[in-house]
Symmetry: C2
Subunit: 248 residues, 2 copies
């Protein structure tokens, strides 16, 4: 906490973090700290880079110097999210919520009923980074360019289950134990095309699941799937005596 | 489905619905059907009123005539959501997501760190209604005016558990079996004040829960709690041989 009770600003950087290391800050970060947060030399910030945990650092001239480590890095193997991108602020909310709820990778996918425009990966990455800074994550979800379903499912890792979020009501509810690597696929507002659905269900890694009785918007389905997964993982962890935190 | 493959428009009305009944439509509904959906006399719409299920109806002159019932009414006892209202589009998203994810009642609450302005119940109700029409719900969450915590917890029903969504990381994960009436309380971005948290934990109906390892925004926490609840309820229903749908 800062003296005024507000949390110490948290920034993602790309440099290595270690005791005594001086970390350069981007122009945007310097402007943000000076103009929005009104911080100056000697003030505290928190830094993370997705590899070295979270560090307390002191602002210097255009850089920050690592003081001490606040948290060790945890392995980030959150579920992957494949989704038909909704438009405008719904897309931003999807990325923000998926980041807060622990998604490890975001892949926009073009399905038959997906409407243009394609999601820009640089925008997804910027939103994901901002959400990661805000929510206390130690990593940032990897944001990929939009691709076809076949491209997205090519080279699929053998042990990763792909939960197909199927609004047709036929899937069973997502159930625990939520073990092993997972991914979720959320279709467009108009739903999957029948042939698409059949093709998906024929793939060995696909498990259709239902997310409840209502027709969910894309960003709602994405958040609901990830939230349910976190809770099931946490409950399974408590039941087996492991840590109750949802992140593995 | 309409001939063009789009779903038949779905409208909430306040009149009773029964075979042959003529249901008046509001000016807004008539404009929407004519100008946005480009429908005219004889075209099909779906109607629901929170009491009589969902009906297929045909458009007449300023009204619609009930043809046949598509779905019977189900008891709507979704969890209540008490929340410190976020601002602008985040508030709208909260209401929309909570409606899609089955909340039965929405109550904005003023906590110590809640920032003005107060949420307007007429706006909440309009957003909830729109989301209920879109997501296929048979009822609309009740939207209440903003009130203090003491007011919100006055006359609390004995059997309704209030899950306190506590970002301090001390709560246990929300766990099943998700039985009986429930409510969730989500605090402001700055968190609950220490005295507020102590006071809440001393109340007999309060159960602190954790929604995972990250700091969630208000609207994310609300959606995550309701989604986790739906999934736990559905899983419990499957395990005991009851219907797999999340709504009781």
């Amino acid at each position: 906490m800062r003296r005024d009770g507000r949390p110490v600003p948290r920034l993602h950087v790309s440099s290595p973090l270690a005791a005594g290391t001086r970390v350069p800050l981007s122009d945007g970060q310097r402007r943000y700290l000076a103009r929005v947060m009104r911080l100056g030399q000697g003030d505290a910030v928190r830094l993370f880079n997705g590899a070295d945990g979270e560090w307390l650092a002191r602002l210097g001239d255009g850089s920050a110097r690592c003081d001490g480590r606040l948290r060790a890095q945890t392995p980030g193997d959150g579920p992957w999210l494949l989704f038909s991108p909704p438009k405008r602020d719904r897309l931003r909310f999807l990325v923000e919520k998926a980041t807060e709820l622990g998604a490890g990778r975001l892949t926009p996918v073009t399905l038959e009923r997906t409407e243009p425009p394609a999601a820009r990966p640089d925008r997804l990455a910027a939103w994901a980074l901002e959400a990661a800074e805000q929510c206390g994550r130690l990593d940032v979800p990897a944001c990929r360019g939009q691709r076809t379903l076949d491209e997205a499912l090519g080279d699929w890792p053998r042990d990763r289950v792909l939960y197909l979020c199927d609004a047709s009501g036929e899937g069973r509810p997502l159930a625990g134990p939520a073990a092993g690597p997972a991914a979720f696929l959320v279709g467009p507002e108009g739903g999957f095309a029948p042939a698409e659905l059949e093709g998906l269900k024929a793939r060995p890694m696909v498990v259709p699941v239902s997310l409840g009785p209502h027709v969910l918007r894309v960003e709602t389905a994405a958040a609901a799937a990830l939230a349910a997964w976190q809770t099931l993982t946490a409950v399974a962890g408590v039941a087996t005596g492991r840590d109750g935190a949802a992140a593995p």
